[in-house]
């Protein structure tokens, strides 16, 4: 990339000029795969957080990622969402969207939504405002400054509110919600974005058993229409939703398969139980 195009890109990124034409295309899943991660390596201060990681997610799939602490799960999500740039490797969303050339908002617009490990809702905003912020639509400043939401977006928000059971909390400040409710709100925000691929980091941490059950139902219902990647420690939860599980260890894929296959894999047992 030469200096003038880099300058122009920088210009567009910051001033928002030409944002429409520049919007990345949605993931093209004509080959049945929505996410290609190939030979991704990331290192911090000599520590290899990801080490030649290769992973594919199929369109409509629900994939669980497990692995001990420091296996690189969060770093992998950071790479996919543009927060961290890898030292090597490639990351493609569908056939023709190179994730490594896009910024975080561009990746979000392209159709990848992310729920964080710690619930990060906007605590000063109401539940409704949180969803309004997240809802799919034109997110350029001139649009948000000039026009209110359209009726299609409003309907969609109502649907999401219902899905995550927060209808009667709509005007409450998000900071006053319980921990589980915050998790749900965040999932709701993810749904409002209408992404093709959902990255969900530890969705059931701090939830009551009933809430966990409903979350499992919700994620299962999403699969098919969307592709979902769930990172979770709770093995019961993983068992309840997983069709295919990937085990990460020291920055690369250790094993992949059904939950039973993975749990019986001696290498996985060794990693989890120690030598």
């Amino acid at each position: 990339m030469n200096a003038s195009t880099s300058l122009r890109n920088g210009w567009q990124k910051v001033f928002g000029a030409g944002a429409k034409s520049e919007r990345p295309p949605p993931g093209d899943t004509s080959h049945g795969t929505i996410l290609y991660l190939e030979d991704i390596s990331v290192s911090f201060d000599g520590f290899k957080a990801l080490n030649a990681l290769t992973l594919y997610i199929d369109a409509g799939e629900l994939r669980c990622i497990i692995g001990p602490n420091g296996a690189g799960k969060t770093t992998m999500m950071d790479v996919i969402t543009g927060k961290t740039r890898p030292d090597a490797g490639s990351a493609w969303f569908g056939q023709n969207t190179d994730l490594l050339t896009l910024t975080e908002p561009q990746i979000a617009e392209a159709g990848i939504g992310r729920k964080f490990q710690k619930p990060t809702v906007f605590e000063q905003h109401t539940v409704m405002e949180n969803l309004e912020l997240a809802v799919a639509g034109n997110k350029a400043i001139w649009s948000t400054l000039a026009s209110p939401l359209d009726s299609r977006q409003r309907t969609h928000i109502e649907e999401v509110l219902e899905t995550v059971c927060l209808q009667d909390r709509r005007d409450m400040r998000a900071g006053m919600l319980s921990h589980g409710q915050k998790q749900w709100l965040e999932i709701g925000m993810l749904l409002a974005q209408q992404p093709q691929l959902l990255l969900v980091d530890e969705p059931v941490a701090g939830m009551t058993p009933q809430e966990v059950e409903r979350t499992a139902e919700l994620l299962l219902s999403l699969a098919g229409k969307h592709s979902v990647m769930v990172v979770e420690h709770d093995m019961d939860f993983v068992r309840s939703i997983a069709r295919k599980v990937t085990v990460l260890h020291e920055g690369h894929v250790l094993a992949e398969g059904s939950i039973d296959e993975v749990q019986n894999d001696p290498r996985v047992v060794e990693v989890y139980l120690g030598e």
Binding site: K13, V14, G16, A19, E104, I141, L145, D171
Partner: protein, 377 residues
């Protein structure tokens, strides 16, 4: 349809917040009462307001506008700018250049074109950047454009590479410091140390006449009202919510698809323009602009106005600007040696005990209606 849309806007901007209503009512009262008390009652009457007082209140209003500008970026967007006085001063210089050129042959050296300080420095012709400032409209455009463009350029550099938090505060401080050093130089062509002063007239009117003072006062009041409503509109729009989301969780906002840099940039630039307009109204009222307006401490003082009043509420910023400046006027006249103690202590007390300023204090002392509403809803 048209009327319902505009009445809807009216409801949103004004009806929703008591502080705003109180502020606008007060502003209207002052805006009407001050000119009447000044012009209708003769000097010596106990109801007469002196030109000094009219100008003082007009000055407070320009400060209030500056405070709103800072509150918009700090209170709403979380950007602690320690360089906003620079935009204020640039707006002031643009106006000052117009006023200088209006002096014409009435200067000490009587040069038709060159301001006195240029004659004094033995300059033969007007520098190119002084062209056009003999026209009011041109100066008025520059008041908006110069601070706006500087803020865009600076913000583009800073926000694009995600300079945030205290780093950003420090480089805004460096920005105003660099400008101060630059404007102190004689060969910059802005009057050096002495700045621009000895103004005679503005759009044809004697700048010291009562009527002109009242007109400037009214212009300040109007600018304050419009600036306030504009900021209120922004903060209530969806964009305003995005801006507050950026303040609370910047990277989260990015992950749901907003170009955070672009939002920050435009808010910063708009705020700089407001500051520039405030400066442009300030200069004809106080009659001088010099490089000390760029002093780092000035920018920090503006931040403390906002902190004292209560950041994150526009009327809080106005209240803070008026309160602190009234205190400053009082102290510097009555107990000058105590002013810095008072200001310093104010910094400490407000940050330690009043995170939401006097407005927050007032809220705490009144029944918690809004919170209850929110809980029971």
């Amino acid at each position: 349809m048209q009327t319902s849309a505009s009445s809807n806007l009216w409801t949103r901007l004004i009806a929703g917040e008591r502080g705003t209503q109180v502020f606008l009512a007060l502003l209207l009262t002052v805006g009407v009462a001050v000119p009447i008390l000044h012009l209708a009652f003769p000097e010596g009457s106990s109801l007469h307001l002196s030109t000094y007082t009219v100008t003082l209140i007009g000055k407070y209003m320009t400060y209030a506008l500056l405070a709103i500008a800072v509150d918009l970026v700090w209170g709403y967007c979380g950007i602690l700018s320690l360089g906003h006085a620079a935009f204020f001063a640039l707006g002031g210089y643009a106006m000052g250049m117009y006023l200088m050129r209006q002096i014409g042959t009435r200067g000490v050296y009587g040069d038709l074109v060159l301001p006195d300080f240029m004659v004094f420095l033995n300059w033969k012709e007007l520098p190119w950047f002084w062209y056009g400032f003999d026209m009011f409209w041109f100066a008025a455009v520059m008041v908006v454009i110069v601070p706006g463009l500087l803020a865009l350029a600076f913000g583009w550099l800073a926000f694009r590479s995600r300079v945030t938090g205290v780093y950003l505060s420090i480089i805004t401080q460096a920005l105003t410091y660099a400008l101060m050093l630059a404007f102190f130089r004689n060969d910059m062509g802005f009057g050096g140390n002495n700045g621009l002063t000895d103004f005679k007239e503005i759009v044809g009117a004697d700048i010291n006449a009562s009527g002109t003072r009242v007109a400037l006062f009214l212009a300040s009041a109007l600018a304050l009202a419009l600036g306030y409503l504009a900021c209120r509109y922004i903060t209530l729009s969806r964009a305003g919510r995005v801006v507050q989301a950026i303040r609370d969780a910047e990277s989260r906002t990015r992950f749901i698809g907003y170009r955070v840099e672009s939002y920050k940039l435009w808010v910063f630039a708009f705020s700089a323009v407001l500051a520039g307009i405030a400066g442009a109204l300030y200069v004809p009222q106080v009659g001088i602009i010099n490089p000390s307006e760029f002093q780092p401490i000035n920018s920090i003082e503006v931040v403390i106005w906002v902190a004292v009043g209560g950041r994150g509420t526009l009327y809080g910023a106005v209240a803070g600007a008026v309160l602190v400046n009234y205190a400053k006027t009082y102290f510097t006249a009555a107990l000058p040696e105590l002013w810095l103690y008072a200001l310093g202590t104010m910094f400490v007390i407000v940050t330690l005990f009043l995170p939401r300023g006097v407005v927050g204090l007032a809220d705490r002392l009144t029944p918690r209606q809004r919170v209850e509403q929110a809980v029971t809803a």
